[in-house]
Symmetry: C2
Subunit: 363 residues, 2 copies
């Protein structure tokens, strides 16, 4: 069977380098790509990710030190769960030069990465995301952590994985709603920084939605490449890296207003609505053409339909006010100037976002 060539994308630190491998066949060749100083691995996976975790464990063969089953709902993303992962790894004889492999969605990579950060004051880990959101986003930047009853991700560490495998085969059992919500982040990366990728992925949207391997790989690897370039150009998160937050200013408020339970919006769904609002403001403030805005809206519409968000001014206003990027001049907001190009406008008043929320649409 002939495979497309693999792509190797280095992500520079701080605090450390990561390498993303994107391609077909990575799961069953995982033994060649995953990194462990000792050559030994602890594989932690959710039951839902078994279709991907099985081939990875098989590929590691004798080098598998132990396997750990991890749950993957936000309510189990706690320090106690991290301690259970640590217990199992230490009981199996984990040494400082061994490495973890986290197979699953963002909850799993966040928890296993955090366990790796604090075990023996830091061991290496690898991520095998099994969600489109995880492939496009979660592992890059090295944020790991768990929730606290007072808020999400309040306990954690910066501890980037050594290697991240992006293999569309790992998405095989991903529910359709999660599949589509995660794609929003991948398209978003194209829109802010890669016009050619945006055009191509727009034309190939039917193939992407049909989970065609080549189309998916082109989009997902492209999204990783955008992040790698942006992160490398701005390690301290003050400048260009902020562009990755396109759609997130209102998106975060919409996500919080909907609540984080099962009845809420997926992160990607909230970002889709946040992008729709950002298009309104971009047309007014940043010269985005009606044609480009319509093209993006059309893609978002076909990625959906997404659940209706809260549009109530008062409720949204309270959540917008908590935005970390708020200054006395307004909210630091990412606006699109054209397909593939974005900039930060420091002075968008919250009222303008609330106006946009009232009229935003995904068609």
């Amino acid at each position: 069977m002939s495979l497309a060539p693999l792509e190797r994308i280095p992500i520079s630190g701080p605090p450390a380098e990561s390498v993303v491998w994107a391609g077909e066949g990575l799961l069953r060749d995982a033994g060649r790509y995953l990194h462990s100083p000792s050559g030994r691995f602890v594989v932690a996976a959710t039951p839902a990710a078994e279709a991907a975790a099985g081939p990875v464990r098989e590929a590691l063969g004798e080098r598998l030190l132990t396997r750990i089953a991890v749950a993957d709902t936000e309510d189990v993303k706690t320090l106690a769960s991290v301690e259970r992962i640590a217990d199992a790894a230490l009981a199996a004889g984990l040494r400082r030069d061994d490495a973890f492999v986290a197979v699953g969605g963002g909850v799993v990579t966040d928890m296993v990465g955090f366990a790796a950060a604090i075990l023996l004051r830091g061991v290496a880990w690898n991520a095998v995301p099994t969600t489109t959101a995880g492939m496009a986003d979660a592992a890059i930047g090295g944020k790991t952590g768990v929730n606290h009853r007072l808020g999400k991700n309040l306990l954690g560490a910066f501890h980037p994985p050594a290697v991240i495998l992006v293999d569309p085969a790992a998405l095989a059992t991903l529910p359709e709603r999660d599949f589509r919500a995660g794609l929003v982040e991948a398209y978003k990366d194209a829109w802010i920084a890669d016009a050619a990728l945006a055009e191509r992925s727009s034309q190939r949207l039917p193939a992407v939605l049909a989970r065609d391997t080549a189309a998916l790989l082109d989009l997902l690897a492209g999204s990783v490449r955008v992040k790698a370039v942006v992160v490398a150009s701005d390690p301290r998160e003050g400048g260009r890296r902020r562009l990755l937050n396109f759609g997130h200013t209102l998106g975060h408020a919409l996500e919080a207003a909907a609540g984080f339970g099962p009845g809420g919006l997926r992160h990607g769904e909230a970002v889709a609505w946040g992008i729709a609002a950002a298009l309104e403001i971009s047309q007014r403030r940043a010269g985005l053409s009606a044609r480009d805005a319509a093209a993006i809206r059309a893609v978002l519409g076909r990625l959906g339909p997404f659940p209706e968000p809260v549009r109530d001014r008062e409720r949204l206003s309270a959540f917008l006010a908590r935005d970390k990027k708020s200054t006395s001049r307004g909210l630091a907001s990412v606006l699109l100037t054209s397909l593939g190009d974005a900039r930060v406008d420091e002075s968008v008043p919250p009222e303008e976002w609330l106006d946009a929320a009232a009229i935003m649409s995904l068609s």
Copy 2:
């Protein structure tokens, strides 16, 4: 009241810089020396350290966000205790630019430093050690962490305190046995790298034992200076930094063989015996003069008397075999060539340490 001049000793990273302030009056002037990006502090202290924590909290005044009581026995040095510290800090409204102050012994600085490492993916912290061991040793290098039922310090992070205050007033209520055991490490630093400090502190031993402020400060600040120079010259812990382990090869085995409970040896006591054994080997292998060896033995004898250690070959042998610095050629061992000068000998067979353990003495 006129005070001796303060000494400022920078400790270079990685992963970050620390500054040690050594002098009188630091506790009540803590507000000028402790570091917090926001200016706000969370002070965590043990009940036993109240005599030091009180003045620190008073000095911070309105800038005290909250206070947290922490226990300080090895059995409470757990992830659950760290979570309780995190709970209290978050409930008080801790933000990313606030800072912790840990007032107490090594257990407290290890736990509070670790809480600071993982809260909001890392906030600043300060250490106010209230033990001689803590002043001479614990905070330097930035190792923080907690115990696991399978071993000590198995969960943790490298997260150096921004500032460490070394004020002899903080030792006021330290029990005599702990006071003397901790001094072993301070003298040890002089012996490996500072002949003048070693001579001076040997002559002033009666004043040191009487807790005379000037004599204590000279010894403790000198010990910090030795560590600062050694750590800066060897950030990756492969070369000169190993000299700090003088007395620790056999010392760790003696400490483990005695058990870590209340009936065991204090770390400093085990190191004292380990130094006594290292003197035997140093005379044979490294040309240490009988006069220098006797001078050191005399200081150790007057710091004690220390409890008798296990000398049984078979029991010690099992613990020596676990030494991380073991190679096929022997144990990497720090030997003294003369007062103030040491080197590493990679080829000392374990048998030679067991022979030395049989004859070592502290008089």
